[in-house]
Amino acid sequence: MSTTEFSRIQEAVGTLAACSTTSESRMDLRADADHLLQAVTSFRALNWGYLSAITGLDGGPAPTDGHIGILYHFCQGPAVVTFRVEVPRDHAVVPSISAVVPSAPLFERELSEMLGVEVQGLPAGKRQFLSDDWPPGVYPLRKDFSPESAVPVARSAPVIGSEEAPGTFIVPIGPQHPALKEPGHFEFAVDGEIITGASVRLGYVHRGIEKGAEDRSWVQALYLVERICGICSHIHATAYTLGVEALAGMTVPPRAQAIRTIICELERVHSHLLWLGVAAHEAGFDTLFMFSWRDRETVMDLLESVTGNRVNYSVNLLGGVKCDIDAAAADAIRRGVDYLQERTRHYLKIVTTDESFLRRTRGVGAISREMSERYGTVGPTARASGVTTDLRKAAPYAAYGQFPVEPVFSQACDQEARFVVRVKELFECYRVLREILDHLPGGDLAIPAPRKVPEGEAISRVEAPRGELFYYLRSTGGVKPDRVKVRTPSLCNWAAVVNVVVGQKLADIPVILAGIDPCFSCNDRSFTLRRRGRTGGSGHGSASAETWSWEELRAYGIRYYGGGR
């Protein structure tokens, strides 16, 4: 960030917040809760950047610290401006910034559910992340949280439509529904075939990964975050390792960075081809679904031959990568890419010329650029609305500085544009893959990583197949992370979707939902595994909440997979 920008921001915020620059691309603005809204308002008047994430940090109970830190990260290119607010744990109240930052509510709700920070002015609404029977007043991301305190409260089964106003008709979609490959819940109020209202409920696959990472060593947490998502596992691991390496001050060999980038791009190819099939299926075009998934096998085979795995590739190490790409593997990738490029040309032709398909995509679910920026959409969804941000270019990481990528975007804003942008991105993937393979740097694959990571914090932002993925890491100098905050791209895209479906036709809902390539598994992360009644104990269905110990889980896993035979 240039010093002029820095002083512009300082000038705008004035005495409302204390400014300091922590590195050439980061700036901290310390404000107190009373002046936060004012400070953010004058900052937003500069029209600088977008809200990327809100991180909550619990310092622990009173004798040690007694405060909760709330960090509002605004980003533009590689620069990050962070508003930092500290509030006492026993009276954690901050104003909502959603009046000036319309994309904030989901982040703020996560903050209030997970850390118990009361966000004043946040529109009342149902829970988004914790389950409905989660006890009130128990906050999983607080340091003194104990699983024993999470005793489910009694609740009656919700009845669909019980809350509907007279004259409205609600069509529920999910958590189990053929259109959703992962659980989420949507309620669409319809008038005939026209949508008049929409709401979303997330959190069905919350697995406590952020909390779990705090209880593992820096190395173990790597394997945990890689399992956040089954489609873009590598990008999570990459974001995490880049963050830890920055914290530990490690310089990773260029060959390792290049190999990471190759896997990133192969993963993007696999993700986009998978999406193409799913999105076509949602529009009732199963032939395209079957063909694109057939061709996707090419890239799956490549990933398997290079890394040994089809899903969680486990390529990254702290300090490098695990597997090498030799001349034979490089040739295999080149051949695969040649085949895929030819097929992708065919798919581009289909999504832009097939008459029946265009009837389902052209002009459907248009998110204008202005709306896209207001609600903070990211990734291909945003680029289909004319936003040109692609972190691979805007804030290059890994080997993207050396092998630049041209962002693909479209001004058309509709569903067709989302197809075109993703399919065209595939060509860019193929080009970059060839480029890297032709100029693969020599040298080591990894350097040793320290067991303990020096005290400090790091922000790591990467371009996942679905858009900007944000990691915030904090170390207190120990062998375990103090905080791992993950903000996945899917979370940013909901607000725009829920707003754009109103006025559309019911039949277009699956298509529009698929348009943002939602990943619920990424979306939902934090918390604890409970079971209702032990087998052979008090009978199933009884609400005796118990937490599984590690030994029990392990024994269960062994039994489940037939280890007892």
Binding site: I170, G192, G284, F285, S356
Partner: protein
């Protein structure tokens, strides 16, 4: 003796068992062809029968808030309608088992019972997907039914009879009517796909939107009967169109060749398109389908008055 023959015709051949077996076989061919067009392996030959038996064995769950009589009776009515209609068409290339003046109209209405029953079945439950599916099924009925009927009337007018066996006989002795009435043929074939809710006209049961449409709440016997009824409709539809437009059906061999050729065409059409929204389906039928069928019919009537030998 006559009574015995009538019972055989009704229960074994060409009605009853034969129709059921043949329609399951045609379902297999349809599924296999679509699967191969989509680069899939597709089912084994006995899969439709296995599905049918499996559904018969499964528990039929009657949801709360439905009229039980209707819930159980509608699948039977739909199946009975389809089985009855089979008696009036030249099944297997043989003469129809029954026939009377105007049986064409009766057969078309018997075929329509299926859609009506599906619509009622959906409206009978409180399930939201079923309700939306029922509305869509009935909306679709009102769009394809008129053009479909008009398209079948074309050959009847040419033959000067509304009796299926006579139209069939006329078709066998004259130039194939796919040549003389191409518009009617196209409308009839696409109309059949609309009737059977085959892609791209599968909005009433669009899986990704409304799960299984009007039949969402059906799980066992009822679902088996509805599915079987639909298979029989496919068979009857193919038979009717081949008899009218593809030079008539005179023997089992011609029957097999012509209906399977038609089936291959519908399978290809099923895999070519993305699903149409219900508003697009209605638009397509009233803007294109009905107009085409009417034009065809008016030309026919005009030629008839002019005394041209068709």
């Amino acid at each position: 003796m006559d009574v015995l023959l009538a019972v055989v015709a009704l229960l074994i051949f060409p009605g009853g068992l034969f129709v059921i077996a043949a329609s399951l076989a045609y379902e297999y061919v349809d599924r296999k062809l679509v699967a191969r067009f989509q680069n899939r392996l597709g089912p084994r030959w006995f899969q439709p029968l296995a599905d049918f038996i499996k559904l018969l064995v499964k528990e039929e769950i009657v949801p709360d808030g439905v009229n039980r009589g209707l819930f159980n009776g509608l699948p039977l009515a739909a199946l009975a309608g389809a089985l009855t209609a089979a008696l009036y068409v030249p099944m297997a290339g043989l003469a129809p088992s029954w026939g009377f003046r105007g049986d064409l109209v009766a057969a078309v209405y018997l075929l329509m019972m299926m859609t009506l029953c599906i619509g009622l079945a959906g409206a009978n439950t409180q399930d939201r997907f079923s309700l939306v599916g029922a509305v869509r099924a009935l909306t679709q009925l009102f769009s394809y039914e008129a053009p479909f009927l008009l398209a079948l009337l074309g050959p009847a007018i040419a033959a000067g009879s509304w009796r299926i066996s006579e139209v069939n006989g006329y078709a066998r002795e004259h130039l194939w009517m796919i040549v003389t009435q191409p518009l009617g043929f196209v409308v009839a074939l696409i109309g059949l796909m609309g009737k059977l809710e085959l892609p791209p006209f599968d909005a009433p049961e669009a899986e990704t939107e409304i799960v299984s449409g009007a039949l969402t709440e059906y799980s066992g016997r009822g679902l088996a009967f509805f599915r079987l009824g639909r298979d029989i409709e496919l068979l009857i539809g193919l038979t009717l169109i081949s008899a009218f437009y593809l030079g008539g059906l005179g023997n089992p061999l011609a029957f097999l060749a012509k209906t399977l050729a038609l089936l291959a065409v519908t399978a290809a059409l099923q895999s070519l398109f993305a699903r149409l929204r219900i508003d697009q389906t209605v638009g397509l039928w009233w803007k294109a389908g009905a107009v085409l069928a009417l034009v065809q019919l008016l030309v026919l009537i005009a030629l008839k008055f002019a005394g041209v030998q068709l």
